[in-house]
């Protein structure tokens, strides 16, 4: 093939241009640490990256939901535990009060203590978390337990009904999976209040039979309470598992994202060195062959 000077120059130019283009792309990748900058660099990686980012965000959100659910349940648990302690003491007093050997003042003393315990139960029943009542289901803005001066339950705007599922608080902890957080006051605490009120009446009326009946009520309420605390424990376990799973998932997904998007520095730098050599060689040879022409040698 016949070669002309312009051809040589064109070829040198073209090759230098290609080499420079590759160097430029490498520089871009090394400075950003990313294989792709725009979708056309690698549409598949970009799409995968978008999906992963969204998924990681979703998992983090669910993890947060799980954590919030645990906090709610934890407060519920400790509240019920406190109530349980009070109930236990009340039972002991009930047993003492049932004996026929007590005097009137003694029974009064016991009654006063029971009243105190009952007041506590009402208070605990109206526990709030961040200004929201935890035992009222979705009516978080009103106290679920209101009493009069005799500690008679007078109902409450915040009273939740356990047989109305729309009143339950639910958090989504996985796609389309919701968990009920919190418990309904009427299922867990009302029996306790009622049993304590029965005890109180019995003591006030000095009616041993009433007191004994109240004891039975208290025992039932205690069992019920334990059942509910176990239920809460089970939910907490489930949440712990979910939390751990989400943590693991997020880590794997972030690893996968990095694998897809981030460059392998060692490999990229090696390629850079190679390309640099190619570029230098092209420059050197280009310079050598472009310059001499016959004109220099003619007299």
């Amino acid at each position: 093939m016949r070669v002309t000077h312009q051809l040589v120059s064109q070829t040198v130019n073209h090759n230098l241009g290609s080499s420079l283009r590759r160097l430029h792309a490498m520089n871009d990748r090394l400075s950003t640490g990313k294989k792709v900058r725009v979708p056309s660099d690698d549409p598949i990686i970009v799409e995968a990256g978008m999906r992963l980012r969204t998924a990681i965000g979703q998992h983090e959100q669910y993890k947060q939901n799980v954590s919030d659910a645990k906090a709610w349940l934890s407060l519920t648990e400790s509240s019920l535990s406190q109530i349980g302690e009070g109930l236990h003491r009340a039972r002991e007093q009930a047993v003492a009060g049932a004996s026929g050997t007590l005097t009137e003042p003694d029974r009064q003393a016991i009654a006063t203590e029971i009243e105190q315990i009952l007041a506590d139960v009402f208070d605990i029943g109206n526990t709030k978390m961040s200004n929201r009542y935890i035992f009222g289901g979705t009516r978080t803005d009103a106290p679920p337990f209101v009493h009069d001066t005799d500690y008679e339950y007078v109902g409450a705007p915040g009273a939740s009904t356990s047989n109305d599922d729309s009143r339950s608080l639910r958090y989504e902890i996985a796609p389309d999976v919701t968990l009920q957080v919190g418990v309904h006051g009427d299922e867990t605490i009302m029996p306790i209040i009622e049993s304590l009120q029965s005890l109180l009446h019995g003591l006030e009326q000095d009616d041993t039979e009433s007191i004994n009946n109240a004891l039975v009520e208290i025992d039932d309420a205690m069992d019920n309470l334990l059942r509910w605390r176990a239920e809460i424990g089970a939910r907490m376990n489930r949440l712990d598992l979910a939390e751990a799973r989400y943590s693991d998932d997020v880590i794997s997904m972030e690893e996968l994202l990095s694998t897809k998007e981030d460059i392998d520095y060692a490999g990229e730098i090696m390629r850079l060195k190679l390309e640099e050599n190619v570029y230098r060689a092209a420059l050197a040879t280009g310079a050598r062959i472009m310059q001499p022409t016959l004109v220099e040698f003619l007299r």
């Binding site: 000077h5 312009q6 979708p39 978080t140």
Partner: protein, 467 residues
């Protein structure tokens, strides 16, 4: 008997021819770097010999040579390669402009990033999840309103970035129409001049070079097919329709498009029929302006309108903190005007998170958050999948365009190498030729001197015996 002055005539012819050859060499050297220049070669050939007249011929060696003449000045060009270059110029033009357009669109899309539509969607769903857990909180509600506003604005912004690109494409179409028309006129003029030169037997080499260049330019702009006509003229066709035929050229005119307010359509100036192009930059601009971008705008609009409809559907069934119900969450029709309901912006208690009216109930908020899982878009896709597909599509198109540009560069380079090999000027070669012609010229001068002395011997010194 031989001619007395025949020798001088021969030498004179040599002087003339070699002078012309030197001139041509000088022309080649001068144009060595001119793009599109094809080197010219003087094909020297011997002039017709004559036979020594005489009865019953020959009394001596016959068919005497009479010198050299320049013959024709040849233009070294490979027609096949030139045709291939024109063909490839169309593709180069098409893919280069398409690549540019797609890069601009990618920039408008802002993906992959944490500030684009995808991230805005994700954060919006997250804020709704928080609302589900804490619907009583004013702070959480404010975040929902804020994230929704960001989402609406990001979608709107992305769409609005595409319109200037479309406008620019339209400008380019108009500009190219003018350019092609002008080139057509220039080719027509050249056609005339070439025909005149050829009619009297000349080879208009430089004019032909110039015309080839113009045709190449037209091809890059709008695709061009060349058909030969008589007398060295050509006809140039665009999309099968004549742009130039001989000395007559037609104009491309950009008229305002009656169907689309600020865009133009191309028609032939004389007939008014629309211009059809299927290659070159023009085809790429028209395709981008009329197919690619409108489709993209439609998809973004669909995304926005579905978001608006589905969100409002769910939201309308809920109850706000203040008991309000049936309010729209988003207002607007599509990506041009999507916005958060001003009533919500002014009072976030209007966000309907509850299904029952209880303040702690976040059922509707949850349903809103769960919209991100619903396959509500075309093709049973979620919002995220649909948008992802949009980005992917642009990425794939962009990748293809970038690859084709590179490919075309290589092809073009190869063809240019071939053309340069045939038509390019090699300075060493020209130098050598120059020396050759110079020697021949000097030698011819010598011949004249010798002939002169020989004749002088006869004229001045013959028959001067004894003087």
């Amino acid at each position: 008997m031989r001619s007395t002055f025949g020798g001088i005539e021969t030498a004179k012819r040599s002087l003339g021819s070699h002078q012309l050859a030197l001139q041509t060499t000088g022309h080649n050297i001068a144009n060595a770097n001119a793009p599109g220049y094809s080197r010219q070669k003087v094909s020297l050939r011997a002039t017709s010999p004559y036979t020594v007249p005489g009865m019953n011929n020959p009394a001596g060696p016959g068919q005497v040579g009479t010198g050299v003449e320049p013959g024709v000045i040849q233009r070294m060009v490979d027609q096949f390669v030139q045709a291939e270059i024109n063909k490839e110029a169309r593709n180069t033009g098409y893919w280069a402009s398409r690549d540019q357009m797609l890069q601009q669109i990618e920039a408008a899309l802002m993906e992959p990033s944490d500030t684009g539509v995808r991230a805005a969607f994700d954060q919006f769903w997250e804020s709704l999840q928080e609302l589900q857990k804490n619907p009583e909180s004013h702070a959480v509600r404010s975040v929902v309103a804020e994230r929704a506003t960001v989402l609406a604005e990001t979608i709107h912004y992305t769409r609005s970035q595409l319109l200037p690109i479309q406008k620019e494409l339209d400008h380019s179409v108009q500009g190219i129409a003018q350019q092609v028309t002008s080139l057509g006129e220039q080719i027509a003029v050249l056609n005339q001049e070439i025909a005149r030169a050829k009619a009297v037997g000349y080879e208009p080499n430089d004019l032909l070079d110039r015309r080839d260049q113009l045709v190449e330019e037209v091809s890059d702009l709008s695709g061009a097919t060349v058909v030969a006509r008589q007398n060295g003229m050509i006809a140039v066709l665009i999309g099968g329709t004549t742009l130039v035929d001989g000395s007559h050229s037609r104009a491309l005119v950009a008229e305002p498009d009656p169907n689309r307010s600020n865009l133009h359509q191309l028609v032939w100036g004389d007939s008014g029929s629309s211009v059809i192009v299927n290659s070159g930059q023009l085809a790429s601009y028209i395709d981008g302006r009329d197919e690619f971008i409108p489709e993209l705008l439609h998809q973004i609009d669909l995304l926005a309108s579905t978001l608006i409809d589905k969100t409002n559907e769910v939201h309308a069934s809920g109850v706000g903190l203040n008991g309000s119900s049936g309010l729209e969450f988003f207002v607007g029709n599509d990506a041009t005007d999507i916005a958060v309901n001003p009533m919500i912006l002014s009072d976030v208690a209007n966000i309907a998170a509850s299904a029952t009216g209880d303040v702690g109930d976040g059922t509707i908020a949850l349903q809103l958050a769960q919209l991100n899982q619903q396959p509500v878009m075309e093709g049973n896709a979620t919002f995220e999948e649909y948008f992802s597909a949009i980005v992917s599509n642009i990425g794939v198109s962009g990748q293809k365009a970038a690859r084709m540009v590179e490919h075309q560069e290589n092809v073009e380079n190869h063809l240019l190498t071939l053309r340069e090999s045939t038509s390019g000027v090699n300075l060493d070669e020209e130098m050598t030729n120059m020396i050759m012609y110079q020697h021949a010229y000097a030698a011819a001068s010598r011949v004249v001197t010798v002939m002169d002395e020989a004749i002088d011997t006869i004229i001045s010194r013959m028959g001067l015996v004894g003087r």
